[in-house]
Symmetry: C2
């Protein structure tokens, strides 16, 4: 390998290393056009046809715009990208979590991108990660006590909420949201349990800082009232995790929370919590369905294969993602558009975790 030619560069390339002049001549454009075409920040200044021709020639001649690239790299971001081939595969999240833990301790943040096992998409992602900032944000992380929306406003980034709303009064009117009708959804679970003959029903609720948990809790109480029933107990889990579900269900089973007579069914605020509910019941020697019926919420992947298969409330994962993406694109194109608040209607999926109570109510 030869060292790079000193500036000013010779007009003719050495046999081993092409210059920007070679690329310009071959592509039939000025050198400045080569530079613009290969710098993602200025590519918009040339036509798509020119950008493609220059890129092809540069690739063929093996010329790398290292000066451009170096210029782009002078700012340090303390931001790390991670590409995964398939986010649907649950193998990756625990790996990503470990990566994030280490990087966060060093002041780095982590951005994940999904290549979908597609090489062209992978290339595009790397280029974007290397050269660009985000134009918009979809927030699935809305919760009380955050300044996410004000930050978006500060940076001039359009945002749309998904799955969770902001608490009332926290700027909800200023931002579009695509969420579930959580009140209706948990009501379907209550109706199902009541129809099976259950009267002594408990609610294992989610963390109350989050809209899904608040709305499902309120919806549970409302629907129980509708049936003329008082809840046996309401236990709040500390987080939407398997372990928090185990802890909350253990408290319920051992009478560590204020409770009426022992429940014959528990309507749980989401499917992750149900995994912990199953763990707690197994540890206590209680059988799901036979001893206590369990309902979940979300119909997350694979709960059809757990044992017993989970009766749950199916949310519209796909419609939710698509709607949020469409709204964001529309609002980016036309910032003055009226904001939308969409509630998608969930449905009951009956599987094997619910059954009539062993004894009459």
């Amino acid at each position: 390998m030869q060292p790079p030619a000193p500036s000013p560069a010779p007009a003719r390339a050495t046999p081993t290393r092409a210059t920007i002049a070679d690329v310009a001549r071959e592509a039939g454009v000025h050198a400045s056009t080569v530079s613009r075409a290969l710098n993602p920040a200025t590519r918009g200044m040339v036509t798509a046809a020119v950008a493609q021709r220059v890129t092809e020639v540069a690739d063929r001649l093996g010329w790398r715009p290292s000066a451009v690239a170096a210029g782009l790299r002078t700012r340090k971001s303390r931001t790390i990208g991670i590409l995964v081939p398939d986010l649907i595969n649950p193998i990756f999240p625990p790996i990503l979590h470990a990566v994030e833990t280490v990087l966060a301790a060093q002041g780095y943040v982590t951005l994940v991108a999904n290549t979908d096992n597609d090489a062209a998409r992978e290339s595009l992602l790397i280029e974007r990660m290397a050269t660009h900032l985000v134009d918009g944000l979809i927030l699935a992380s809305a919760a009380a006590g955050t300044d996410a929306l004000s930050l978006c406003a500060r940076f001039g980034i359009p945002a749309v909420l998904i799955n969770r709303r902001m608490p009332e009064g926290a700027g909800c009117a200023a931002v579009s949201a695509v969420t579930n009708d959580d009140t209706h959804g948990i009501g379907l679970a209550v109706d199902h349990l009541v129809a099976l003959g259950h009267r002594r029903i408990a609610h294992l609720a989610g963390p109350q800082g989050v809209s899904t948990a608040r709305d499902r809790r309120a919806g549970f109480l409302e629907r129980m009232r509708h049936h003329g029933l008082a809840p046996v107990a309401v236990v709040d889990a500390a987080a939407y995790t398997r372990d928090a579900g185990r802890v909350a269900m253990t408290a319920l089973l051992e009478g560590l929370v204020p409770t009426g007579p022992a429940c014959t069914a528990v309507a749980v605020a989401n499917d992750m919590l149900c995994l912990g509910v199953y763990d707690a019941m197994e540890a206590a020697g209680r059988r799901v369905a036979d001893d206590i019926s369990v309902t979940g919420f979300n119909d997350m992947p694979f709960v059809d294969r757990i044992h017993p298969a989970l009766t749950t409330i199916r949310i519209q994962h796909d419609a939710m993602g698509r709607q949020a993406a469409c709204i964001l694109l529309a609002e980016m194109a036309e910032p003055g558009l009226a904001r939308q608040s969409i509630r998608l209607v969930p449905e009951l999926v009956i599987r094997a975790s619910t059954a009539p109570p062993a004894k009459g109510p």
Copy 2:
């Protein structure tokens, strides 16, 4: 709300809107320092103490550096960020997939960030997404036929491979990798099945463009030879998905692939495929363990709760993520470091999907 004061700004703030001069006076610095401290691109030019003081004063007075923010937003990136509160929760990937599908059709790419339900982290992520590029990349998506590594080199971005290696000769020496000992891992599955008494063992392999699939396939054949056994059949699944596993297992059960006598056990290349294997066996009226033993690979979350609970090869998710993060940080700090290739040793986890064959071999 008043419109912003015209430039040049008056020396004194109106009662309703602070100016940069107010922030500068209150923080005891020049206005140019305020500007530098609040622009993430130039924050490194002031001390951390000054940056913090200025930020606090600006927040208290409600002054937003809108001109700075606007300047940062003049380039359009066609890149969208998504924040999720908990990537471990399998509810989010299907939602993200839908978002990506819509955005990709419009030429947008999507970057996902995990807030871990932490408001401070969420703020940091938004700021980074809004103002910065990535410094480094961790690639879990390595596969044949991609130019990921050459792109990283072109943009001057340090990269580390995780879980999957590049094909031999595709620049592997130039990049560090943290992967599993896949050959050893699948050998543990073969040893376990042989110890249970199985002799007629098939392999349901993964997509052969990916190193994990190739290495597990080769490792399966090698370990079968070690035991003096010939495989009943080897079927390649088209992808690491539940549906591809169902299709491949159906082909195996229906004799649609070249096969010897019917198998009593199948060593499957990963856990996602096993979900489809269970689906195919259920559809064919065959019982997992009782009729055909099944082993997986990865020990992904929740396979302890599927029915029957999956015997599988546990990889070191956490160590893998941590090692890759540490290596990337080290190589970013010292680009001349020798590249590392780390193979983590997996272990067998015996659950209920494997049993002695119903009849002798």
